[in-house]
Symmetry: C2
Subunit: 336 residues, 2 copies
DNA sequence: CAGCCGGGGTAATACGTATAACGTGACTCG
DNA sequence: CGAGTCACGTTATACGTATTACCCCGGCTG
């Protein structure tokens, strides 16, 4: 009681296997009569025929499958990247398979063997550095997400305009009168975060003060980092710029535990604009990153590369969404 | 400049293709000398040989790949289910591919064709009803997640002890003196939610009052639903039982907008224990669902079924985590 | 009537792998 | 010294599909 093959369909319909393949592949502009084509199709559905993808892939030498390498799907941002990539892929008859160590903790298995299928290309986030080494060895079309565009090795780059996002944040905060900043930065080493940090330092002109604290990307990490930072007696910041909404939410919470009101005493900004941003109170002022579009453009770029077309596009624009976690800087404490 | 095949390795090493296959498959307990084995392996790495998975899958008649059907990866719960399933799969040399309409909105494409690879089995959440129809037609080992265990068609079921979770919630709230309840329920029709609703109604004894409002699983939906429910003049509830942390967060927010303090004036409980639960303020009292374990057990069950072993296991236990969103029922308004 | 054409289909083949079946020398044992 | 036995490989084949090259036959043309 095994699955029917195209040959089974052929014998059942009284034709050759080649004819079945031609009909079901819609390759009969005059090679097969309409009558037999209909007969074949009817027989196929009657037997419940499904083509064996492994055989087809072998024959065609292509699986129409891409590997998406991201650090963790539990991070909503990357889940949305996947969603976008999968949507575009599906529109072109492609599939997307994930690097199967999505928690970022797994050993660096061979991503290609683990994918259990031959791959046509790879889309990789720069934040999955541990997997990239394993990838480097092979020569498969590679699209990099959020990585240094000058770095070689990739056939295409898809980047968000992170520096511009940071510009919007700083302009917003400076306009509100803030001068003392705390950068709650991600402890993960990645080009994205480096870019943001660099943008922040250059954008803040003279007459301002900036301290940086690194934290793992969890609310708890943010809380401890914040508590340490705010405990410092001298030069308490009035604005906290976070690399992530999760950090921002943790920062808000830590601030309130310490008796500071947000945004009256302390302004907080995030990055990403996750669902979390509007779920917490106050709702977060944050930089909206169109994650789905990152996935879509990544897949689009890969498809172009696979066709031999070089692909390039401007950075994806991002926009600051002003909500309730930022406000005018508090009046400075009067000089003693 | 194409990828080297096992035959290329064979000629380069001066052996036959079969030998290469034996060596790389670790099937030489005496069939190949250690010397030649080493030679073959060295040659393979030198040429950068990687087996063609499509060919292997065709030959073996199995792809060691499972399809996971979930409604939306952007829901942290399902992202964690995937993580768990992928981990167990990887330990057994399996892969997991997702049904490529993860936003739940896409048309019901053929999930098998879209997977771009032959599949060995399917793990499906009951909340992806639109995809299940397409699956029903085929005969592939099927493991159902959170679905009616008496329903046929599946080789195994993996369920969370939802009714027991609801029991813990009600006992907690009853002990706090609550008698007037609002059930903020998911608008999605699913066995899971039905089970919870049923458990809630039966567990609440006489002398209590229960109203039910259905809402889409978003914070905004929760807010509108809550505002409508609390606006009702008569019999304002003192406890809101939500089917989801997202709903609970929305409920807290709505309550505060209406001038109610949580938990002093209103207690709120959630389900899932997402990262969100500890990111909002107050931190949510919620039922912790071990999502990763659902994925792990789902994959374990599928592996067992594939080996011909019938699989069954008790419901996965869940535990109420008491945090800050629940408290003693407020004293009833004095009779006029 | 020979030749040709074109519609309608078929036989053959290759994709790259895993494995069953089959040598083949050298060595051992009776 | 002939028959086994081993240790070490090899030859051949099948998996199911897509596609190329070919074939057959009726009708039309010169």
């Amino acid at each position: 009681m095994t699955r029917p093959t195209s040959r089974d369909v052929a014998t059942a319909a009284g034709v050759s296997q080649a004819t079945v393949s031609l009909v079901l592949g819609d390759k009969w502009p005059g090679r097969v009569s309409t009558r037999t084509a209909a007969l074949v199709r009817e027989t196929a559905t009657r037997l419940g025929y499904r083509p064996n993808l492994a055989a087809r892939n072998l024959r065609l030498g292509s699986t129409r499958t891409a590997l998406l390498v991201v650090p963790a799907l539990t991070n909503e941002f990357f889940a949305r990247v996947y969603t976008g990539a999968a949507r575009v892929a599906a529109e072109h008859g492609f599939g997307v398979v994930l690097y199967p160590s999505p928690d970022g903790t797994g050993p660096a298995r061979d991503p290609f063997a683990s994918a259990r299928a031959a791959l046509d290309g790879v889309i990789a986030s720069s934040m999955a550095a541990h997997a990239l080494q394993a990838i480097g060895g092979d020569t498969l079309p590679l699209v990099m997400l959020d990585s240094d565009p000058r770095a070689g090795g990739a056939a295409a780059h898809v980047n968000l305009a992170m520096a511009d996002g940071m510009r919007q944040v700083t302009e917003h905060l400076l306009a509100l009168g803030h001068r003392h900043f705390l950068h709650l930065a991600s402890a993960v080493d990645s080009w994205t975060f480096d870019t943001r940090a660099e943008a922040l330092t250059t954008l803040l002109g003279p007459g301002t003060e900036l301290r940086t604290v690194r934290s793992p990307l969890t609310a708890d990490g943010a809380r401890t980092a914040m508590e340490a930072a705010l405990a410092a007696p001298l030069g308490r910041p009035t604005a906290v710029v976070c690399d992530d909404d999760i950090l921002a939410a943790g920062a808000c919470k830590a601030a309130r535990r310490l008796g500071l009101r947000v945004p009256e005493d302390l302004s907080v900004t995030g990055f990403d604009d996750l669902a979390l941003a509007t779920a917490v109170e106050p709702e977060l002022t944050t930089v909206h990153l169109p994650a789905e579009r990152v996935g879509e453009q990544g897949m689009t770029a890969l498809l172009a590369v696979l066709e031999g077309t070089p692909w390039t596009a401007p950075d994806i624009p991002v926009t600051l969404v002003v909500r309730d976690s930022t406000g005018p800087a508090p009046a400075p404490a009067p000089a003693p």
